[in-house]
Subunit: 476 residues, 4 copies
C-alpha cells in the first residue's frame, strides 16, 4: 500500500520509503521559488496559448487553463493561496491548485514541458526583470551624479592618486568619473540581457519533445526575441545568472569606491562633505558621532555580492550534462544579490542627491598639498627643459618650500632662479589652482570645456536610452 | 522641534532629518539579530550580575533587571514579543521592552557597555553554539561511517586514482578515509572554538570603560574561559567568524567528495550503491528515474558556503580600526552557512547509515580493470627485478591481455615467461584480488589488520571526545 | 649628497633614504611588465606620431624617437636588451634605453603622458590581444565539436540528468550543447572587447594635460576605435580586466563540464570514449593505468581562473579615485589566467578532435537504463490519458520490469494491459531507441532534422565571424 | 617499435601515441616542483634509511643511495643540475640522475613508494617550512609593534569607529590591538602545523604496500611526529594546504587593515605619520608626491592570497577518492601565496619600525572631534542621570558647541547648566583628553596600567614561544 504522503508527490509511483522532514526541508526550493509565481504563471499562460495554436489543446481548453491561472495569480497576490512545502516547488503548488480548480484538464498544461525547461524559463524571466530594474536605477544614478557635477563645476578639490594630493581637479570631473563607470555598468547589464532573454521552453527534460511545439511563439508571448538552439544546453545553461551576478559585482565595486570616498571625506580631517541626516546614524554611547553607516553598509555588502558570484561559479564547475539538482542553488544567490544591488543603487541615488559639499574645506586641502607642482614642471618643460629634468628641479623646490612651511606660490622669484634660470614672473599665474584646472581642456580632461562636453554627451546618451524604452516605462 | 520618530532612536538628539523607510530597511539587522535574542539576554544577565558584584548596581536592581529579562525571553519564545524594525536591532528591542517593564532602571543595564562589545559577545555565543553542534554531528557522522566500515571489511572494490581502476581496496578502507577527514574537521572546529570563546564585554565602544567592571566574571558566567586583551581589538575582531566559515567550507569540501561518489556510484554503469528512497527523488517526466538529489544538493551547496567565506574575507579587508558598520555583514553569511553545514551533516549521517552496497557490482568492476597489475609488478620486484623494469614488463603484459580480452590471471605461465623468466606458478596466487588486499597490512594500509586497528583507534578517540563532554550532553 | 642609486630613480629628487632590496623586489612589476614591451612600444610610437602631428614635437624628432623604439624592440626580441629591476617597470627600462640611444630627446617622448595612462594603454592592448586569441581558439573549438557532431549523428547514448539515464539522445546533440556554450563565450568575449578597445592616452596622471593632444589619433594608431571620456576614470578603470577574467572563468566552467564527462566516460564502467594516448598518461606504480590527466588538469585549473577573478575583484573593492598602487595587481592575475585559458582551449581542441567514441558501450548503457520510459508515458498520453497519470502507470511498469530483470520492451502486451487498457501492439515501435530520438524533431531537439539545422546554422555563424575578420587574420 | 621519446617516460610501456609539446608543457609541474628538490631529497634519504632498517635494502645499498642523493643536492644548489621538462616532475628528474650516478640500484629507492605519497610528503615538508617562517616573522612583527607601543604610551590620538572620531585612545592601545591579531595568527598557523606535520609515506599509490615499511620511522627522520592513519586519505588529503592558505589570508586581512591606516594617516588631512623614504615612492609626473606604495601593494596583494584560497577550495570540491591530477594545482597557489605572505610580513616589520608618528597632528584631530563627549555623558550618569538621558543631553551640548565653533571644554558652566543642573566645576577636569584615557584602566582598556599589563604579557608570551624553539633557531 502506498502512503498517502507519497501519493501527493508526482514521482511517487515507484517509491516505497518515506522522505524525512529534514530532507524535505533541505530539498525544497519553495522559499525562493515562491517569488517566481508571476513568472511561472506568465510562462504557463504562454505555453497554454501556444499548445492551442498548435492544436495540442483545444482553444476552449486553453481558455479554461488561462482562467484558472488568472485566478491563482489573484489568490497569491491577495494572500489567499496556501503554499505547501510538501509539494516542493512553485510549479507543483500551482499545478495542484489548477487541477483543483479546473479538474484533470489542469494536468494537460504540462504536455511537452518538463520542470527542467519550465524553471529555466521562470528564472530567465525573473533575471530579465531584475537586470532591467538595475538599468533603470543606473540611469537615475547617472542623472543624479550628472546633476551634482553640473552644480559643482567651479568647485576645485585635490585630485588624489595613492590618496595623496596630486593635481587640482574640478569636483564635476571627479563625479563624472563615476558616471562613466555606471554607463559601462548599464551597457554590461544590457549585454547580459541579450543572453538572458532566450526562451528555453520546448527543451522539455533535456531532449526536446515529440509534440509539435512552437518555441518561437512562446518566446514572443513572454517578451523575449530568441529561442534555445539545443535542448541539452537549454536546460543546463546558467550563464545568464553568472553574468547577472558578475554585472552586479562590478556595480557594487563602483559603489564601494564612492562609499570609501564618502567615508573618508566625512572624517573631520577632510570635511569635504556634510552627511545628510537621513543617510547617517549616531552612536548609542558617543553623543557627538555622525556615522556614515549607509556608505559603510553598501561597502560591506559588496563582499556579499562577490561571494554569491563565487557560490554559483563553484556550483557550476564540472557538472556533467544536462540538468543536475545542484543547479537549484542558482536562485538563492541571485535573488539575494539582486536585492542588495537594487537597494544599493536606489539608496546611493538618494544619498548623492542629498550630499552637500564643503568647498572651503577642499580649498584648504589644496593649499597644503603642493597641488601645483606639476604646473611648475610643465612650465619648465614649455620653456625647453626636458620633462624629466623639470620634474627633478620641481622636486627640489618642493623640498625647499616644505622646509619653509610655505607653498610653491610663496617662493620668491629670486629663490626660484637659484634652481633654474628659466623661471620668470609668469610662473605665478601658472601656479594658480583655478588656472591649472582650466588649462586641462583637452578631451576628457578636467577643464570646463571638457566637462561641458561630458555633461552634454551623457545627457544625450541618457535620453537615447530612455526613448528607446530599453529599460521599461518607469523612465518615460 | 524633534520628530516623534527620531525621538525613539537613541542617538536622535542631534539629528534633524528623517531616515527614509528604504534606508531603515537597508540598515536594520533585525532579520538576523532577532535570532540572537537568547545570547543577548544571557549576556545581559551576566552583565547585570557582574555590575551588582562590582557595586555598580544594587543587588536588588540586578534582580529586577534579571527578572525583566526572564520575562522578555518568555515573551519571545512564546511568540508574544513585538519586534519593531524601527528600533534597528535586537539590543534596542530588548532594552526598550525592559524599560517598559521595570522603568528607568532598565537603562542602567547599559552602564559600561556599548553595542559594539555587546553584539560581539552575542555573536561569539552564537558561533560557539553553532560550532559545538557541528562537532556533535561530526561525531555522529564518524560513528556512522565507522559502522558501515565495520560491516564491509570483506567487501572489495576498485580503488580509483584519476577515476581509473588502480588497486583493489576494502570498502572499509574507502569509508575510513572519510573518517579521517571528519576527525580533522572536528579538531579544526575545536581550534576555532578556542579563539571564539573569549568574552569581549568590557571593551565598551572601543576604549574600555571608566566603570570598575570585571570582564573575567562575565566570561565565566557565559561559559567562556578567556577575556579580551585589548579593547580596540575586542570590538573589531571577526577572526572567529572567518574561522567558523573556513572550517565549514572544509567540511563541505569533504562532504562534496563523498556526494560525488554517491552520484557516480549510483549510475547504472557502476551500480555500487542502492540509493535509499528517502534520499532520492523521481522525475516529473521520466518514470524510471531515481535521482541522487540529496547528494547533488549537498555538493551544490558547497559553493554557497565557499561564497560566504569569500564574502566576509572581502568585507573585512582593509577596514581601519575599530568598529565599522561593514562588520554587520558578518551575521548573514555565518548564519546561513551554519544552517547549510548543520543540515548537510545531519542528512549525510542519515543517508550513509541507510546506504546499501552492491558487492557483486564491485566485483564485476574489479575484474574488468586489471586491478592486479601492481601485484604482478611487485612480484617481479620481489624476485630481484628493479621496480621500474618490473613496471615496464607488466605494462607489456597488460597490453597483451587487453588484446586477448582477458585478465592478467588468465594468461598462461608459458606466455608470461616470454616477457620474463622470473614468472613461476606462484604468480597466480599473487594475482588474486582478496590476497592483494590482505597483503597490504602495514600501518594505514587496506589489509584487514590495518583496518581493525583503524576502527579500534577511532572508536577510542570518539569515546574520549564524548566523555570529555567537549561537545555537549546530547552525546552522553 | 644624493646616492647614485636614487639618481637613477625618476622621482629621486626629493628622497634621501634608501629603498631596501626587499622593497625593491616587492614593488617592482617587471616580471609581468616586461611581457608588455611590444604594447608599450606600440603605444609610444603612436604617441610620438601624434605629438608630431599636433606640433608638440618636430617631425624629425618623432622620426628619431620611432627609430630608437624600433631598435629597442629589436634588441628585446633578439635577447640583447638588459632589463634592470632597479628601474622598476617596463616604461622606465625602455625610456632609459631610448635616452641612451638618442639623447635627451628621448625624454620628450613622455610629454603629456604619465605612467598612469601609459600602463593603462599597454594593458588594454595586451588584453585585446589575449581576448582576440581566445575568440580564435573558441572558433576552432566550435568547428572541432561540430565536426565530431557531424560524424556522430547516428550514435545514440543515454542523455543524463542527475547523472542518471534519462532519455536517449544523439551524440551529436550532446556535443552541440557545448557548441552553444562556446558560442556564448565568443559573444561574451566580444562584448568585453568593446569596452577594452578604448584608448586612455591623454588622461595623463589623472586630470588630463595642458598639451594639445589628440587622443582620438592615438586610439586610431593602435587599432582602437574609442577614447576615454573622463581622465580620472581612464586611469582608474580596470573593468576591462575584470570582464576578461570573468569571460575566462565561464569558458573554464564550460571546459570543466566536458572534462568531467571525459573523465567519467573513460572509466571502464562507462567506456564511452577511448582516450587518445597523447592526452593521457600512465602511472609510475600501476602498469595498467591510462589516466585522463589532461582533462583533470583543465578541470583543476578552473579553480585557478576563478581565484584570479576573486583576486582582482577584492583588490578593486573600495579604492578611492584615482590611481592606487594596488592596481598593479591586475597584471599577474590576468596574465596567468590568460595562459591557462588559452592553453586549455588549444588542448581541448586537440583532444576532442582525437577522441574516439565507442557506440557499442553507449548502446549497452541505453538498454540497462529504461531510457524509453518517457516514450511509454507519452504514448499513453497520446491515447488520452492525462500526463501525470501516464507517468504514474509507467513508473509501475518500470518497477515490474526491474523485478524481472528485463527492459520495458521485453514485457508482454498482455502484462502491459494489466496496467492500462490503452496499450496496443504499436507500443513496441514507440519503445525503440532510435525511433525515440528521431521523433524529437522540434526546433532544438535531438532529432536528425533539428541537428542538421543546428550544424548548418553554426557553420554559417562561424563563416560570418571569420569573414568579418573580427578575430584576426589567422583564421582566414 | 617504441619511440625513443616515450622510452624516457616511466609509464611509456603501453603507450604508442606521442605527447605533443603543448600537452607536455601543460601537464608538467616542474616549474613549482623544482622548488621542492630539498624536500624530495630529504624524504628520499629518510625512505632509504628506513628501507635499510627494515631489511628491504642492504645498508650498503642505502649508503650508496644517500651518497648519490647528496651529490644531486649539491649539483642542484651549485646550479649544475640539468632539469628536463620531459621528465615531468622533480621526482623523475632526481631519480633519473640517481640511476645515472649509481646504476640500477637507483631504481630500488622507489620500492614501496608511489609518486602519490612521495609528493604529499614533499609538499608537507615545504608547507611546514613556510608556516614556520611565517611564525618567525609574526613574532618579529609582534615585537616591532610592541616596541612602538612602548615608545608611544603617552601619545594620544582619536580612536575611530566608522572612521569618525569616537574616544581618545593611547597610540599604544591602537598598536597593541594589532599585536593581538598577530598573536592569533601565530596560534592559528600553529594549529595548521599540527595537521601538516603528518607523514604520508607508506600509503604508496593509495592502498598501502606489501613491503614491511615503518612509516613512523620516516616521520621521525623528517622531523614530524605523526603518521597517516589511512592510505587513501594520505594521498588525497590537501586540508593542510587549505589551512595554510586560510591562515595566510587572515594574516593578509590584518596587514591590510594597518595598511589602510598608513595610507589614510599619511594623507595631509590626517598627517599622523611620516612615511619613511624606504617605504614610499614618488611620481613620474608630480614632483611633490610621496606615495605609500608599499602599504598599497600589501593591501592590493591581499586579494591575491584570498584568490589562491578560492582556487584550491574550488579545485578540491567534489573530487572522488583517491588521488586526482587536479590536485597538482595545489602547489602554484600555495607557493605564490607563501611568497606574498612572507614578504609582506617582513616588509611590514621594517616599515613599522621605521614609522615616525606626529603627535601634534593627532592632538589637533582630537580637539576638532568632540572626543570628550562620552566623558560628559559618563559624568552625568555618575551623578545619577540614566545613561540614555545623559547621552541625549550631551548630544544637545555638542550641537550647541558646534554652532559656536568651540569644543565642549570651552562652554561656560552657566551655559552647561541650562542643559542640566548636574554640571559642576569638576566637569572640566573630566573633559581633559589625557584624563579620559587614564580613567579607562579596567583590564584591556586604553589606560596606562592596562597597557603596561598588555606589554608585559605579550613580552612573556613571545619569550615562551622563542624558548620553546617552536619556530626555529633564527629567533634565538
Amino acid at each position: 500500500m502506498e502512503s498517502s504522503k507519497n501519493k501527493s508527490k508526482l514521482w511517487g509511483g515507484r517509491f516505497e520509503g518515506q522522505t524525512s522532514t529534514l530532507v524535505e526541508e533541505f530539498t525544497q526550493s519553495l522559499d525562493y521559488d515562491s517569488l517566481l509565481y508571476a513568472q511561472d504563471i506568465a510562462g504557463s499562460r504562454a505555453h497554454a496559448r501556444m499548445l492551442a495554436m498548435q492544436g495540442v489543446l483545444g482553444s476552449d481548453e486553453a481558455m479554461k487553463i488561462i482562467a484558472g491561472l488568472d485566478q491563482i495569480q489573484e489568490e497569491i497576490e491577495s494572500g489567499n493561496f496556501l503554499w505547501n512545502q510538501e509539494l516542493e516547488d512553485v510549479h507543483m503548488n500551482i499545478e495542484k491548485r489548477l487541477t483543483e480548480l479546473i479538474g484533470p484538464l489542469g494536468q494537460k498544461l504540462h504536455t511537452g514541458r518538463s520542470r527542467n525547461d519550465q524553471v529555466a524559463l521562470d528564472f530567465r524571466l525573473f533575471t530579465t526583470s531584475a537586470l532591467t530594474l538595475w538599468q533603470e536605477e543606473l540611469l537615475s544614478l547617472i542623472r543624479t551624479f550628472t546633476d551634482q557635477a553640473r552644480k559643482n563645476v567651479d568647485v576645485i578639490l585635490p585630485g588624489y592618486t595613492h590618496l595623496q594630493p596630486a593635481q587640482p581637479v574640478s569636483l564635476a570631473q571627479h563625479l563624472l568619473a563615476y558616471v562613466q563607470m555606471f554607463k559601462r555598468d548599464f551597457e554590461r547589464v544590457g549585454d547580459a540581457l541579450k543572453r538572458t532573454k532566450v526562451s528555453p521552453l520546448g527543451a522539455a527534460a533535456l531532449a526536446g519533445t515529440t509534440y509539435p511545439l512552437d518555441p518561437q511563439q512562446v518566446s514572443h508571448e513572454v517578451g523575449f526575441k530568441d529561442v534555445f538552439s539545443n535542448s541539452m544546453d537549454a536546460v543546463s545553461d546558467r550563464d545568464f545568472v553568472l553574468e547577472g551576478l558578475f554585472s552586479g559585482s562590478v556595480i557594487m565595486t563602483h559603489l564601494s569606491r564612492f562609499c570609501e570616498e564618502i567615508i573618508i571625506w566625512s572624517n573631520p580631517g577632510f570635511g569635504f562633505i556634510l552627511l545628510p541626516d537621513a543617510y547617517s546614524t549616531g552612536s548609542s554611547i558617543m553623543p557627538q558621532k555622525k556615522n556614515p553607516d549607509v556608505a559603510e553598509l553598501i561597502r560591506g555588502k559588496t563582499g556579499s555580492v562577490y561571494g554569491r558570484l563565487v557560490s554559483l561559479l563553484t556550483t557550476m564547475k564540472a557538472l556533467p550534462l544536462a540538468y543536475n539538482r545542484d543547479m537549484q542553488e542558482d536562485k538563492g544567490p541571485f535573488m539575494e544579490a539582486h536585492k542588495t544591488v537594487l537597494s544599493s543603487l536606489k539608496i546611493m541615488t538618494g544619498m548623492v542627491s542629498a550630499l552637500k559639499f564643503d568647498s572651503l574645506a577642499m580649498e584648504k586641502a589644496l593649499k597644503s598639498g603642493f597641488l601645483n607642482a606639476t604646473e611648475m614642471a610643465d612650465y619648465l618643460t614649455s620653456k625647453g627643459m626636458p620633462f624629466r629634468q623639470a620634474h627633478h628641479v620641481t622636486g627640489k623646490l618642493v623640498s625647499f618650500a616644505e622646509k619653509k612651511g610655505a607653498g610653491l606660490e610663496d617662493i620668491d622669484l629670486a629663490d626660484m632662479k637659484k634652481f633654474s634660470d628659466l623661471f620668470e614672473e609668469d610662473i605665478f599665474r601658472v601656479l594658480d589652482y583655478k588656472e591649472a584646472v582650466n588649462r586641462r581642456n583637452t578631451p576628457g580632461g578636467t577643464g570646463p570645456e571638457s566637462i561641458a562636453v561630458q555633461i552634454r554627451d551623457i545627457g544625450e546618451w541618457v535620453d537615447i536610452q530612455v526613448k528607446s524604452g530599453k529599460c521599461g516605462d518607469s523612465l518615460g
